[in-house]
């Protein structure tokens, strides 16, 4: 910092100098962009589960996580007590069955990461540091993605451990669990992008939550209705195409293509199956891109 006054060098007062109070400036090592972004990521990841926040903010994420794991305990219990030779609910189907919990988790925790800084204006403090707005947005996005992945992958891991320790076929279970993990990553990137974008646009917390739920669950409800009707009318092609329009139906379609799980109107034909995966990746990239644009615009203000 430029020193406009005759400096006392911090050693004893000089008459007339009112700026230099003699405090020692920081001359230790300064961490670069990577360290700042990493710190932001870790802090955001902890905040998504209420860690480092008030006790009351821990209730919801851990309650949801607990309810999400409850069926695993029951499934594994049933598996080992009555000696089934396969899991009663597949790894990939699990996330589909508990999508309500997942939606509430993502919708409720996205505003924690994206809305609070905007609403309270603390975003200006972050952007005043040597941290570009894009790095801030990516760090926040990564925090929410990591939290969503924890939510999605923990049940898969627990089911897998239960299945392997229950001595089901190791190779089969590993392959199925890995496929489910891949699908979970694809789903999580889409959900993170959508909910993050909504939370960064709508600063009112409650509104962002409902809007996210409306997009995720109402969208899924509409697509499911269309798929049901198209199957009933023996015109499955319409349902297969309709499935491209909501994150959960994309997940179900991809699951139908990748595993032998039964779903409504699974995509048939290589082109459409590839389209399901392509749209999932595109959804993740486009929503992340929109998030970056949003924060660049905010930083420019």
């Amino acid at each position: 910092m430029a020193d406009p006054v005759p400096s006392g060098g911090g050693r004893g007062p000089v008459s007339g100098a009112i700026y230099d109070l003699g405090y020692r400036p920081y001359d230790g090592p300064r961490n670069g962009l990577g360290a700042i972004a990493w710190a932001l990521f870790v802090e955001g990841f902890r905040n998504a589960f209420g860690l480092g926040r008030s006790g009351r903010s821990k209730v919801l994420p851990f309650l949801l996580l607990g309810i999400n794991l409850l069926p695993v305990v029951i499934i594994v219990g049933v598996l080992v007590f009555i000696h089934l030779d396969e899991l009663p609910l597949g790894y990939a189907a699990y996330a589909s069955r508990t999508q309500v919990l997942l939606s509430i988790f993502v919708a409720a925790q996205a505003p924690v990461l994206f809305s609070r800084d905007l609403r309270h204006g603390t975003i200006a403090l972050y952007l005043a540091r040597p941290l570009p707005s894009t790095a801030y947005a990516v760090a926040r996005w990564a925090s929410l993605l990591a939290a969503t992945l924890v939510f999605l992958l923990t049940p898969i891991l627990a089911l897998y451990l239960g299945a392997v320790l229950g001595e089901l076929d190791f190779g089969e279970q590993t392959a199925a669990a890995l496929k489910a993990a891949l699908l979970a990553v694809l789903l999580a990137t889409g959900l993170t992008g959508i909910s993050g974008l909504i939370a960064s646009v709508s600063v009112r917390r409650g509104f962002a939550v409902v809007a996210t739920i409306a997009v995720l669950l109402l969208g899924n409800g509409v697509v499911t209705a269309v798929q049901g009707i198209s199957e009933e009318q023996s015109r499955p092609r319409i349902g297969e195409v309709a499935g491209l329009f909501s994150p959960y139906s994309l997940y179900r379609g991809a699951m139908g293509a990748l595993t032998d799980e039964r779903v409504l109107t699974p995509p048939t034909g290589g082109g459409l199956q590839a389209a399901y995966f392509g749209v999932m990746v595109a959804l993740a990239l486009v929503s992340l891109g929109a998030l970056l644009v949003r924060y660049r615009r905010l930083a420019g203000r």
Partner: protein
């Protein structure tokens, strides 16, 4: 004592329909209606009535009620400007009732009525069925709105708790534990609907119980909201 305050009615309506929130509120029933029209245009009469029950009644209606109820009270509590409102010499219960009336009108106009319309569009040959769904959503929409208003007055996390109630309690658990029908608003509305048309599945709580329960929840929640406003304390963000 006047129960309704015109100024609060006007301000609440502005908060409800202003800007993006109003847009989303319109979009949700719009989506259901568009879907109904498209399905009707492509298939024969009576196909896809699940849209009314599965998409409209269990998802769109509670979401509209939640948005409406939290819109009239939530933001003011969130940013603390509610203190300017309750500093006025207006009875707190009148504040709550006025806000409820606005939210209720929105729920009826954008939640219950579109369901009736969607029913008519999907199956014009059987208007009784659409009327039944309309009344079912009228009853449950009335109770949902009141419940969510009470929640909004109780806690900052009203929206999340409301969603947990609708999606987890009534949705996931309600499908597994049938006894939940005694303690869930959705089945009460269905009970009323099934009294009008046989096409609506009867949850089996009895019409009297359903109506009484809906009435108790509605009146109790609105009274509770007023009572919470009476003893309101402002809390910081967590």
């Amino acid at each position: 004592m006047t129960v309704l305050n015109p100024t609060i009615l006007r301000l609440s309506a502005q908060a409800l329909l202003g800007r993006r929130r109003g847009l989303v509120l319109m979009l949700i029933p719009g989506l259901v209606l568009v879907l109904a029209v498209v399905v009707r245009a492509l298939t024969e009469e009576g196909v896809g009535y699940d849209i009314v029950s599965e998409v409209g009644y269990t998802l769109a209606l509670p979401i509209v009620a939640l948005l409406a109820a939290s819109a009239v009270l939530g933001p003011e509590i969130d940013d603390g400007s509610i203190v300017y409102l309750i500093a006025k010499p207006v009875p707190r219960h009148a504040v709550a009732v006025s806000k409820y009336v606005v939210a209720w009108l929105a729920t009826v106009a954008l939640g219950a009525f579109p369901l009736f319309l969607a029913g008519v569009v999907l199956d014009a040959s059987e208007p009784g069925r659409a009327v039944a769904w309309g009344f079912a959503s009228l009853v449950s929409g009335t109770a949902y709105t009141a419940l969510f208003l009470g929640l909004a007055a109780l806690t900052r996390h009203a929206v999340v708790i409301g969603l947990l109630y609708v999606l987890l309690w009534e949705g996931l658990l309600g499908a597994l534990l049938t006894g939940i029908r005694w303690l869930a608003i959705g089945p009460w509305g269905l009970q009323v609907g099934s009294a009008i048309s046989d096409a609506v599945d009867e949850p089996g709580t009895g019409l009297t119980y359903a109506l009484l329960a809906a009435l108790v929840v509605t009146a109790g929640s609105v009274w509770f909201a007023g009572d919470r406003l009476r003893s309101f304390t402002l809390r910081g963000d967590e």
